[in-house]
Amino acid sequence: MKNLLLLPLLALALLLTACPSQKAGEPNTGVTGYDQDRVSGTPLPARNEGVSFLGPGVQRGQFAAVQFDFDSFAVRASEAGKVMQVAEFLRGGQASLIVAGFTDARGTAEYNRALGEKRAGAVRERLIGLGINPQRIQTVSFGMELPVDSGSSEDAYARNRRAEFGIAR
């Protein structure tokens, strides 16, 4: 019985000492711009009004969408190659980019709109980390709108958790 009572205390002690460089409960976002307990991100450039992700002047579908885990905005290692392909393309020209973030339908609407923006922002920060000028990259969130799969299976949800790329020439 005594051992059972000691177990949670031991667990707490392990938690406090296991990861001294990361605060408890803090998500590993992989986002640059992190400064202790503050994150400013990289400010977005002014909009080019009339040029939008769904608009006629933007080419969508040229690059594969980056997929995300449930309720996460971390860019998985398995998705990093997709971001690098976009970076390579941008290095070869002057096109600007709109990154659009989406969620599955399992969260509530307003939280999902913010989460979608966070996903787009996480991809943008990756591109900036790869040397792309921040002034060339805009973001937008559609939250749970415009799903690519209207099903309610785990596979459908996984396909909808994504960031897409739109090239504005």
Partner: protein, 294 residues
């Protein structure tokens, strides 16, 4: 094996009382609902999909005077009524980006008031109607801001590595409760309307979104998840929380007793004192994102 994983497993296996109870018993009483006169004359707004797109609809608190407010043929979401019911803010994608529009409900005049780069969404009127709190990403991260109701410059309230959304004002307009996942899951936080550090409100639930601060200031309705979405009420005095209904998007009426919320294709009014419910609108496709004037 990772020490942190071992520690977490040991903690949760050995201290079951830390886990929130998310399997409540909900008793729904569909009979005996009576509308106080002030409730019937209050205004409710919500999103419905009857037209094939998400558009804003309005009705009175008893379901009368139902109208489709927007015909944007785009994506119109996140409506918020001012306390006096004269103005409605919402998030519209007409520009291709989510911006915040304010409609004068008497004249029908509409203005795009928040149009920063990136995403602008989740507007909430201050109690006196002079300010808007909202989420924007212009500085590179979705954070909370406050601006004049006519737009212009915005003051940033939060600075975290996480996702901030869904502000709701205190009755005096000096504080804001909002949602942040800075601790790893969406939870309720409280911050001064002038900025500073947000402090977490402990509700006992692992998923807390869509807060609505009651006009008397004593409690917050919010959405949690246990199977489907459920509406819970957090008593700010005692810190206790209880689930009161199955549904989403709770919005307090001016009496701090009745709640409007959505449940699939129904707009529902709940008497939190008795548990009685009445559907006040349906047949409009899927209904979501409820807001109510005082």
């Amino acid at each position: 094996m990772n020490h942190r994983v071992v520690a977490l497993a040991a903690l949760f296996l050995s201290v079951p009382s830390f886990l929130p109870a998310e399997e409540p018993t909900i008793t729904i009483k569909k009979q005996g609902f009576s509308f106080p006169p002030e409730l019937a004359s209050a205004k409710v707004a919500f999103i419905a999909t009857k037209s094939g797109r998400k558009e804003v609809y309005t009705c009175n608190g008893d379901g009368s005077n139902l109208q489709q407010l927007t015909r944007d043929n785009s994506i119109s979401v996140g409506p918020a009524l001012s306390a006096d019911g004269r103005k409605l803010a919402y998030t519209g994608y007409q520009s291709g980006y989510p911006d915040i529009y304010v409609i004068d409900l008497a004249s029908g005049a509409r203005e795009r008031v928040i149009k920063f780069p990136g995403t602008n969404t989740g507007a909430a009127f201050s109690p006196d109607g002079s300010r808007l709190a909202f989420t924007a990403s212009k500085d590179g991260n979705p954070e909370l801001y406050v601006s004049s109701v006519s737009g212009g410059s915005a003051t940033r309230l939060t600075r975290t590595p996480g996702v901030e959304s869904s502000p709701t004002w205190s009755p005096r307009g000096d504080e804001i409760i909002y949602v942040s996942d800075q601790g790893g899951s969406p939870q309720l936080y409280r911050i001064s309307a002038g900025g500073g550090s947000g402090s977490r409100l402990s509700s006992g639930y692992s998923y807390c979104t869509e807060p609505s601060w009651s006009p008397d200031g004593t409690k917050v309705a919010f959405v949690t998840r246990g199977g489907g979405f459920q509406i819970a009420i957090l008593d700010l005095g005692s810190g206790g929380a209880r689930v009161v209904a199955s549904g989403e998007d709770p919005a307090w009426a001016g009496d701090s007793r009745h709640l409007a919320f959505s449940s699939g294709s129904a707009l529902v009014l709940l008497d939190t004192a008795t548990g009685a419910q009445r559907t006040i609108a349906s047949g409009l496709g899927r209904i979501s994102e409820t807001t109510m004037s005082r």
